[in-house]
Every structure is written in C-alpha cells, then in structure tokens.
C-alpha cells in the first residue's frame, strides 16, 4: 500500500508540475483567422524568412498588428514581438532548401495555406534523424551543429542524470544517438571524458563507492570488476577476517553491522559471501542472524531458495 502511495505521489507531482508549467505557455497566433492578409504568401508577414534578415527572420513586426488592432478598427492588442522559445535548437531558414512552408509547418489534415503551426523537432528528423545521412552521426558532427549547448531537454548534469529521461523517452534518444553512443560510457574501453569519472579516478573512487551517487553496478560487475581488481591490489583478502584493515573504527567487529547495512554495495566489492557466512550462517559458525526486522522470508523464498540454501538446511 505504501509503495502505491509513493507511486501516486510521483505521478501527482509530475502531473501538477507539468500543468503549472503548461499554464505559462506561449501565445499561439490564430493564422487561419488572418488568411485574407496573406495574399502574397507567408512572406507578407514573415519578411525575413528567406533573406536571413535576423530582425525579421521568424518574427513579425508588431507594427503590422497594431496597424489594424488599434482599438478602433479592431480590438487593440499589446503584442511586443516574438520571444524565441528556449528550444535549444539552432535553425536558419536561409541555409535550408526552399521546400515549401507547409512541409514543416503544416497542420496534419489542415485545409488551406494558413493551417500552420510551429515546426517540431521531429520535422527536422525526417531529414536529419540518426541514420538518415552519415554526416549527422554523433561524434562525426558535433551536437552543436544543430543544438545550442546544452541540447534541448539535456538539463545541467545530464551525463549523470539522464536515466529517467532516457527510459521515459527512449524513442527520442535514438533520433540522434546510436546505441553505440550509449556504450561509449556504459561499457567504454576507457573513461570517455573526465566529466563522468574525474581523471585518476582509480585513486579517488573510494568515497563515491560508499556514497552511491549513481549505481556503480549498472556498468561494473561487483564480483568481476570491483572484487577482481581489489583482490589483485591486496585490498580484498579472501578468508582473512582477523582485523587490521577497517581500523579507523574502534571495535570494528561490533560496529560492522551498521556499516554493512548502510554500504552493502561497497562490502561486496571486496568480500565473498562465504566470509560473511562464516559467522552468519544457520548451519555453522556463530549462527548470528543477519536478517533485519522487515525481512520477509516467504517473499524471498517464493522467488528463489538458492541463497536460502547457503545458510539454512531444508531447501
């Protein structure tokens, strides 16, 4: 029940936040109501489209509006001009081929030349999507060619904070990024840049591994990667539990339970299961119960008795 409450709170917060943000949405100009004014096409108002005149490129001069909407002929408006959205997208009409305004701006199934809307990023991907042409391959052509940095939706700290967006919007990611792009970081041959793991991370990673700012095991096998290296470097000493290493805490043996429950991720990076079982198995040794008060053996047993059988008979 508590889990469902968490999920409900999550959905509610995301929804409320989105509605709040949506309520601050931009004004949409009713093009179809003004069709009679565009006898010479879109350039009647959007004069700078093809000339590349930055001042008039996308926007419309507000004076064009107030010429009619002056409070006498039509209701007065106080539009101050177009404020570019923070789409993060670089686009210049002048550098693109003239393929007809409605190709990108047309409303699907809309009738008439004025059934238009703002172009979406998906429109770009018709020509520029991943795999469409080789020169848009990530790594060959930098993101900055099309996007301001950071790219749209790539919020600050993206390299370490993108997992939710990637899971929720996976089809979007693959528009620009190939699968191999993900592998560069998640299973790359080397530290791909010094933003994810800083330089000389081998000497710095200890604190991070205890703090779990990210889940290390998502890319690094605790057994094969962490323990393997720690064994080679003498940090993990299989079978020796007579003290000497964690000597920064007095009476470590009595206090290690707290550290283990708080930092099990790190413990596994050095210790074998058999080391803990030397004292915590119900079959032999000190038979100290390692289960916490919330441990539900029936749930675990329903799914696997493999681990139970290490310490308990009857499986």
């Amino acid at each position: 029940m508590r889990r469902l409450a968490y999920l409900g709170a999550l959905v509610f917060t995301i929804g409320a936040g989105a509605l709040f943000a949506a309520s601050r949405g931009a004004f949409e100009f009713p093009h179809e109501k003004h069709a009679a004014l565009a006898s010479d096409g879109c350039e009647t108002c959007h004069a700078g489209i093809y000339s590349g005149d930055a001042a008039q490129n996308v926007s419309v001069n507000p004076a064009l509006c107030t010429g009619c909407h002056n409070g006498q002929a039509f209701v007065a408006v106080d539009w101050q001009g177009y404020t570019p959205r923070e789409s993060g997208l670089k686009f210049e009409h002048a550098t693109h081929p003239k393929i007809g305004c409605k190709t990108c701006h047309g409303v699907p199934d809309g009738e008439g030349d004025m059934a238009v809307q703002a172009a979406s990023g998906e429109t770009c991907l018709v020509c520029h999507g991943n795999g469409a042409t080789d020169h848009f391959e990530v790594g060959v052509n930098p993101c900055e060619t099309c996007h301001y940095d950071p790219a749209p939706g790539h919020t600050p700290g993206w390299k370490t904070q993108h997992s939710t967006a990637a899971a929720a919007q996976l089809p979007n990611c693959t528009s620009c990024h190939k699968e191999t792009y993900c592998v560069d970081c998640h299973d790359g041959p080397v530290n791909p840049d010094f933003e994810y793991h800083p330089a000389n991370f081998v000497m710095r990673h200890g604190a991070e591994s205890w703090a779990s700012p990210m889940e290390c095991s998502e890319c690094h096998s605790r057994e094969v990667f962490c323990r393997d290296c720690h064994s080679n470097q003498g940090v993990a000493q299989d079978g020796r539990t007579s003290g000497g290493y964690h000597d920064g805490v007095a009476n470590w043996l009595q206090q290690h339970g707290v550290a283990a429950r708080q930092g099990m991720d790190s413990c596994v990076g050095c210790h074998q299961q058999t080391e803990c079982m030397a004292c915590h198995s119900a079959k032999s040794g000190w038979r100290i119960n390692p289960h916490g008060p919330d441990f539900d053996p029936s749930r675990a047993e329903d799914r696997s008795t493999q681990a139970c059988a290490y310490c308990h008979t009857g499986f």
């Binding site: 923070e86 939710t164 094969v224 990667f225 470097q233 707290v258 099990m264």
Partner: protein
Amino acid sequence: MNVHRRPFLSLIACALLLLPGTVVGQGIRGDVTLNWGWLQLRPFVRDSVPEDGVSGPGLQRQLPDGTTVTCIDGDFCRWYEDNGTRQDITPFTQDLRFAGWTGVQGLSFHGQMRTRLGSDDLWPRTEQKFDLMSGYLSFNRSAYQVKAGRMYRASGLGYYNFDGASAVWRGLGWLWLEAYGGWSLARGVNAPRNGDLVTESDLLATDRRGLLFGGAVGFRGGKVFSGSATYQREIRTDRLALYTERAAVDLRALVGGWAFDGAAAYDFAYDQVNDARLRITTPALVGIKFAAQGRHYTPFFDYWTIWSAFSPVGFNEGRLSATWTSRNIPLLVEAGGAYREYEDANTGPTNTTVKNDGWRGFGRVYWSPDRWYVDGRYRAENGFGGARYGGDLILGRYVGKGSASYVALRGSATETLSEFRVGERYVTGGAVEGAYDISKANLTLDASLGFYRIEDKNRPLSQDWTEGRATLGLRWRFNSGGTR
C-alpha cells in the same frame, strides 16, 4: 555461443522471409578504436608484529610511526599498507564497431566487439580476451522494429544486455509496446552468469545461465508528457528459481523549459523500492538554471546472492544545483550539493561511531576566451565509509576548428579518507593531455601523460611514492555510405 546458434539462425531466417523487396542504399560504417594505457599502482600488503612487541593495551594500538594496528592478545598486531612493489599495468584494448545497411529498406546489422591484451590478472577483465558486446540484426520500419542477436537494453531498471530478440511496436505514434527475451548476461560483463569470469570471482557463483523476459509500455502525451513502465524477470534455465524480478516506472514532463522527472524501480522478492527519484529542473531564472532532486536509494542484488537477505538499508537524499551560462562571454559556472540520511540499520551498539548521514558539494568554472580555456572543478564527498576533497584545474587551448583537437595541462589535488581506515592521504599531480582530429583521414588521436604523488599525513615516506599514468588512443572511422 555454439549452444544457442540454432535459435538465432531460426530468427534470422524468419526475418529474411518477411522482408519486402524494396532495395535502397547499401553500405557500412563504423570505427576502429585502439586504446593503450599505463598506470602504476602499489598493492596493499598485510604486515604484522607480535602482540607483545607493541606497547599499550586494547584492541587498537599505535606503532611508533603512528600506524594504527589491530591487536589480538597473545597473537599478532596486524595492519595494511599500500607499500607493495610498484606494479606497471598496461591494458590495451581494440574495439571494432559497425552498422551496415543491406540494401533492403529497414534491414541493418550492427556489431561491437573488443579484444583485450596485456596486464593479465592485474587489471579487471583483461583475462577476457574477446568480448562480443553487441551483434544483432535489425529490421526497422516506422511502425515497428524487430531485433535479434546480442543487444543492449536501457530502461528504468538500468543497462542490461542479453542474447535474444526484441520487438517494438509504435503504430499509434503516442504509444509504444515492447517485448523482449533471451539468455541473460551478467551485468557489466557481457558473459553468462555461470561463465568463467563470474565463477572465478565468486566462490558461490551460480551454476546455470538465466533466461530473461520483459515487457515495456511507453506513451507520449503531446510534447509534454512521456513515460514508460517496464517489467522484467530472469529465471534459471532449469526454472528452479528466479535471479531477478523487477519493475520500473519512469515519467517525464517537459514544458516551457521546465523538466519534471520521476522514476522508481521495485524489487519483488524483497519488497523494496531500489531507486526512486523526483527531480525538477527550471528554465533560466535570472540567467541561472536550478535543479532540485529528492532520491531514495537501496541497492539491488541478484537473488542468487545472500546480500539482500542481510537487509541492506537505503538512504534519502536531497540535492540542489545551479548552473549559470553567460550570454555575453564564454563562461559557465556550476555549483551544487546534496545531503543524505540513512534509514535505521537496526543493528549494532546504540553508541555506534559509524555515521548515518553524508553530504557532497561540487563546483565548476569553465571559461573559454578566444581559443583558450580554463576549467576548474572541485568536489567534496563526505560519507560514512569514505571521504574525498579536491579537484582539478585545467588550462588548455583548442587547435583548429571546433573542440575535437586540443592540448591541455592538468593540475590535480585530492585528500582522501577511506574504507574506515585511519589516516589521511594526499594525492597531488599533473598531466599533459591532448587530442588531434584529422578529419580528412577520419582519424582522431589522443594522448596523456601524468604523474601523481601520494603522501600519507603524519606518516613518513619510506620510498618514492610517485605513480605514473599515461594513455594513447586512436580512432579511425570508415564509411562506405548507406542509409536507413
């Protein structure tokens, strides 16, 4: 791989039978990457003296040079020091990755493989000489995609790869459905769960491969909402037990520069939420983008291990950060911090000295006047098991067009306290780094060479503690054209 060849061939044969006759551009493109590294490390060695040779009473005592030792009456006093013989480790990897278009619209093949040489037994996974990271056929049309082979899958459950097949249907545009299944691989290894790599590293490693099955549903509500839910389970091939059973929900709303991200991953066997996050990122307010995040984290462990039965506890963390990017000058300033508190461990003495909280702070200033750049980064990480404070200062210059070619000097300083061990350590050093992109030849070269000095506070240096680091990389891209 021989064991599972027949199912793969069947899948490929089925895919070929279903192909349309349209033929468009053929081609292949990819890259070859060579990376050589050199690093020096000093292994820890265990030392001891007879207990009666160390003055003072109690379990913990000190040697004359300040080293803390753990003593057992009538036995020995023991301690660890990383003063072993300096090792030279030289891992070398070669990667080949490619994507090929067959000439049949939508049908492509993809692969990535790696060979490792050098430093056997000293650097993790160097004994894995050949590593097939991915290799699959893809048939991709606007409404659906079918893949078969070895592939990765990213979801709210993390990053998994497996040998099998997946099918995605996205015919409605706003909704997508996915089903996938096959033989699972140990995470981060690209090898079976019962393969040599795992069995040599864990004395209780499982003796059976796993079968992985999963499904996902995703939606998109206009330009605002998107989300996905994933369910996945892994079962032993003899079907006697599960290895994992998990589900994840990920939601995102992106409106007017505001981003709202929420995620949760759930473990069915231990009734735990492993990683839950809620993050809000603002558009530029007074020129600064802010991000706030609440997170709960409890580690997840496979069911063949005992670790979850030891009732690991999670932490709850709050994180704030701010990023300012100047519109007038090439300057970026970033700062942030986080504080976390652990749940009650329900064990140990009431007067435990192990902390139950932790914090971090970080900052960065990046300034790039003309073609020069200065990049300063600082991070403080303070936790119950380890801490570090320090950062890097980089002075560099971009060469040629863009930022792919550069040469830089790096200075670095870090103070560490780790693994509940007594003593502070300082690591200071520097490096020269560079990369050069030869676009006409489709080549990128990179190299670095650095040296770091390691000092233990309040303990004498008995020998040269400098350690070297170097890298040399080459990437060559090839392309014979081809389209989707």
